[in-house]
Symmetry: C2
Subunit: 704 residues, 2 copies
């Protein structure tokens, strides 16, 4: 893969200067018979060259025996021949120095091992020839403004999408086409779409990066199963964020059942869903859970009106629908703040029967006095709401009334350009288009509008954040972890302490005399533990002694630990006894690290005890993380109130916890080639100002 600007390799597939179709046919029942017809239907203005040695002309275009027989430059070659002929087709494309080859043909890694090997040969050939490759087994691409309809799917012919600001990228071809069709049904305007199929070379991330740089694209919907290069994916997401383009991801294979189906579908690795979910949060990507939700949010984004805060005002002709919408908004975490007294009074003055708190219930009265629309909005917007939903239920079916109200709607929308407006009503396509042209989003169902507003607010917050920490990380003072090494608890805590995750004073001793000396230096009460890399769960063999209070207990304890180790694991290498200061109080937490095969180094945080053991109340981030991200992690676990001081316990030293989480994440990121996992459990957080310390640690290392 070359080191060009990210996204540049998707260019020939989305904005080709000229197109050849290898395997072109005049028969529309054949896959190769469709792209030329569709390109001409869509109004593609560049040259098109059918390639087929058996024909002289196709669709009135001169046909060439091979791509090398074409005199002009070819930018994009579409390959639609049986799998066994694809290799030689790609060879001819390399000889012709095309920019990209788009392969419809299937029968590769999605089918069997032989297919996978053939696919690898093709990719290598293209790569050596400097040709970008899309597919195989993909359904093609689409660009409204370029007149590009490079697909064999007849699904979108009935109602080809109109130009607009939404772009899609989908690994699954059928899914991508389905999104296009559904978007067309809803009259959503589209910019471009790419399906990546087996994504043997150009992948979802490349396409996403290209779209993030497309000036016509305002919002990008992404449907993925697996992610071949997670770093590239994150770079593309970050590019979109910097360009203030919302990204909405629908991931197939969320549940275990789903994951099984993915495996049989395109041989992708589906990482653990909780981890993926947390990573999307970390990178400010919105996750949709249905096509409907993805389209709702993309639609709201496409209107280019951005709510500046999470306060929602509701104006309604029906008290009941207003209450329901307020319920849904509160459940989504939006602030349905009450309107201040003064605008409430102004509303009451105009319409004495109105409820003016928020929801503002203007009752059906507004239908007899449409001129009230403007002052009602005006007074309500005095509440400082960044978004508002106007609920007109069945109202605008009255055409005459609708025309009257439209005049006032237009005035409201143009007076408040920094505001996101939704009208919930039953409308027809023409009414909707007119409202949308003024900047209103139109939804049937207020619950779906609320969900979209929530996403818009989150995007605005994310766009205003500084870039996530993602620089190459230098560990000051940290020692490298060696692959294949075996670290005992004492060594593990030493390594972590050098990396900035503090432990308490402790010494490793190998005689009673040494133990007594250490006890004197550390001070009572003490913890004594057996140290052996082979005994990973010390408590289970009685290998941990608490509350050691005097020299006699040190003496007895030393003997006891050695005897128990010898009884339980006679062949284990015992490296001695760990003497450590014992702390009282504090909140026990768990810090962890593991290597996800797809995503890379993951840092985990959770609260100890029943919360993690029973409720799995933990959260994740890709390492490294910033202080802000650590702060957000801590607030994501359900039991985080424990750290704020409850049950008579003082507030915990959250700052020390944040520093440890950040440093552990940096250690994880810098050492991930050697590390399999790290458990710091418990990591005790003492009351504010007293620090936080690793009481036990386990580092599992990758084999050499």
């Amino acid at each position: 893969m070359s080191s060009m600007i990210l996204g540049a390799r998707a260019r020939p597939f989305l904005n080709p200067l000229s197109i050849a179709v290898i395997g072109a046919s005049a028969d529309e029942d054949k896959i190769g018979g469709r792209p030329i017809k569709y390109l001409r239907l869509a109004g593609y203005s560049g040259p098109i060259y059918p390639i087929n040695p058996k024909r002289d002309a196709i669709h009135g275009l001169k046909c060439y025996p091979s791509i090398t027989a074409v005199d002009d430059d070819i930018d994009l070659a579409i390959i639609s021949v049986p799998a066994q002929e694809v290799l030689s087709a790609v060879e001819s494309c390399v000889a012709k120095r095309v920019s990209g080859v788009l392969i419809f043909s299937s029968g590769f890694s999605e089918v069997d091992e032989a297919g996978r090997i053939l696919q690898e040969r093709i990719v290598q050939l293209a790569s050596e020839g400097g040709v970008a490759l899309l597919g195989p087994n993909c359904a093609g691409t689409f660009n409204t403004r370029a007149g590009l309809l490079a697909t064999f799917s007849s699904g979108i012919l009935d109602k080809p999408p109109q130009p607009g600001s939404i772009s899609f990228v989908s690994q699954s071809g059928a899914f991508g086409i389905n999104m296009l069709v559904l978007a067309g049904e809803r009259d959503l305007g589209l910019s471009m779409c790419l399906t990546s199929g087996n994504q043997a070379d150009v992948d979802v991330a490349e396409a996403l990066a290209y779209m993030a740089q497309d000036p016509e694209t305002e919002v990008i919907g992404v449907c993925i199963e697996g992610i071949p290069d997670f770093d590239r994916f994150l770079a593309a997401i970050e590019l979109a964020r910097r360009n203030r383009k919302p990204v909405i991801v629908l991931k197939l294979g969320r549940s275990e059942v789903g994951a099984r189906a993915v495996a049989s579908h395109t041989a992708s690795i589906a990482g653990s869903d909780e981890v993926f979910d947390a990573i999307l949060r970390q990178y400010s990507v919105c996750r949709a859970h249905s096509i409907e939700e993805l389209l709702d949010i993309a639609y709201a984004c496409s209107l280019r009106r951005h709510p500046p805060n999470d306060k929602l005002g509701i104006i309604t002709v029906s008290g009941g629908v207003g209450i329901l919408t307020a319920d849904q908004a509160s459940a989504a975490g939006l602030d349905v703040a009450e309107l201040p007294a003064q605008p409430q009074a102004a509303i009451k003055a105009l319409l004495p029967f109105a409820a003016a708190g928020n929801p503002v219930d203007v009752t059906a009265q507004i239908t007899t006095q449409p001129a009230l629309v403007e002052p009602m909005f005006e007074h309500m917007l005095a509440g400082g709401y960044g978004s508002s939903i106007a609920l007109f239920t069945y109202l605008p079916r009255n055409r005459v009334l609708f025309e009257k109200m439209l005049f006032y709607f237009e005035r409201v929308a143009s007076r408040y350009p920094g505001h996101f407006f939704v009208i919930c009503a039953l409308t027809d396509s023409e009414m909707r288009t007119r409202l949308e042209s003024m900047g209103y989003a139109v939804f049937d169902d207020p619950g779906r509008a609320v969900r979209a507003i929530r996403a818009l607010v989150d995007f605005q917050k994310a766009f205003d954040l500084p870039s996530a920490v993602r620089e190459a990380v230098v560990m000051l003072g940290a020692k490298s972890v060696r692959r294949g090494a075996v670290y005992d608890e004492f060594q593990a805590k030493k390594l972590l302490a050098l990396a900035g995750i503090p432990g308490l004073p402790e010494e490793l001793v190998s005689s009673v005399d040494q133990a007594l000396g250490a006890a004197k230096r550390i001070g009572y009460p003490l913890v004594m533990k057996i140290v052996s890399p082979e005994i990973k769960h010390k408590s289970e063999i009685g290998g941990v002694l608490l509350d050691i209070k005097d020299t006699e207990q040190v003496r007895q304890g030393y003997e006891t630990l050695l005897r128990r180790a010898a009884d339980a694991a006679p062949n284990a290498e015992v490296r001695g006894v760990l003497m450590a200061r014992q702390v009282k109080g504090g909140v026990e937490t768990i810090l962890g690290v593991f290597r996800d095969p797809v995503i890379g180094p993951i840092v985990m945080f959770g609260l100890g005890g029943v919360l993690v053991e029973i409720l799995k109340d933990v959260t994740f981030r890709r390492a490294p993380i910033s202080r802000d991200e650590a702060y957000r992690m801590i607030r994501e676990v359900k039991g985080h109130a424990l750290l704020q001081g409850v049950r008579g316990v003082p507030a915990a030293d959250e700052d020390a916890l944040i520093v440890a989480l950040v440093k552990l994440s940096i250690f994880a990121a810098s050492q991930i080639d050697s590390i399999e996992s790290i458990d710091v459990n418990p990591f005790v957080v003492l009351p504010a100002g007293n620090g936080a310390f690793a009481l036990d640690a386990l580092i599992e290392v990758r084999s050499a």
Copy 2:
């Protein structure tokens, strides 16, 4: 309120034999000008009598100066006059002995105190005259088969609902009309609809009960804000369940914001939402959170095909959409079990490229071989799925193909009548109607189909349950709680023990000698606690001593407790020291009771410690409950795995816990006139076979 058959009082509003309209007008801009016109439009076949002293005829019907001037019997009187004239209108209706008065007029309890008083006088008048009253401030009623359109709302005129099997009842008039309009948009067939407005007399529960007995009604959608008589509401719900009619409830005022809006809207009391949610679960009612969801589920129910289990089969033309649907189904708790090997092989034999596990991916190939539809379904249904979703995405837009496939769809539907089928595809109204007539549910979005199937499965389970325990409860051995009494811990535990919630052996002593004697009888280790009704939180003043191991500690402990009580609360009445057996181990739980002003006696269960304190991990039921219900309660709390034995702790005595919960619920139900709340905290559940015991208890009593 009379003690007729529940629901009978809603009859005149939904099936009137004759109708008078008091305040009838020829002017459609007036509310009184509409019902006669609408009734005639809807084809109402009974006699209609306009009442208006100023006119001779309205809409060609003879007009009467007053209702008493009409010779014939009047079944229903619709009142549409200003609020101050309603009282005399009702008087005339009482004189005329009508069955019911339906009051459109507003200006009553929803406005102010004077309105509330006027409303009460009207209700009293109607009640004494034996006349059922609907409203005031309601939007009327509707019955497709009776040609009844007794409303002033013009909203449904564009597309009046067609006869079908869905009925609605809504407190809010505008909301009810909105539901009708949205149902009409979706071509849903309706039976009847009633809006109850201020529900000063006939309420949502009466209407629900009537609909539960209507042979044309298959499913009932309910929209409520407040419930004036919760017992009646529960009786109506139970009636629907016994008649196997699904009830779907949308409650307005779910969030705190919503609750505030309700208070200003129709002066209803909105109970705590978590409690209401649990009570709906207890009574097998489905709760919808949006109108869209309510209509989706009602639609699915109206097809009269009932899935016999929660296994879902998926057949798809797009692998990606199939995976997404499997994800959504698993998240909803449906079982997307894999297809057995034999039918998988049969599918592969027919279509080698198909993925056959479930989702069964038939690929776009099915479009060229529509005859495969039948064997594909047949082999897939060999997996024993009670429901299946067929995902055809954009397929049926091809009309010719659709006609071909319809033949096979019909064969499949008729061969499997005990199966619930969904087709997800873009369709037009005619296609949808044809599929529905075969028994298929048609959805655009598979996620919404999944949610509806989940509801159908839950309804089937609920219909097969025996009736919930709701009989009058006789307490054997229980002592009555006296209003105004003050119970200390010792007395509270005695009362609870008599009611069947066991404690451990304990004695109340008032001297050191008595304490030593009690210690001997009970045995060591002991707990000693100060007993004073004024000291409710003993631990906070050091009033609880644990691990008392010998006579010396008993002596010292006694003095310590008295001294601490005297220091902390010098004026408190100290009733002595409680000597109790101390237990080790077990799981700490919390049992509770409180009186909800709307719902009645509520029993609560939760797990002790951080789970209840930080996560509020508790659940509720209306008391009394059965053993099965107690079992379900225990499984509803997130941390319930703690009781099954984890972290080396043996499984807890769940049976003892269940018995205690049931008995506490019976005690609560029988004593709710005297009790404000009961806390049994902690209630410790020992390992299986060892019982469960109240370690502390607090009974708060209502004032005398």
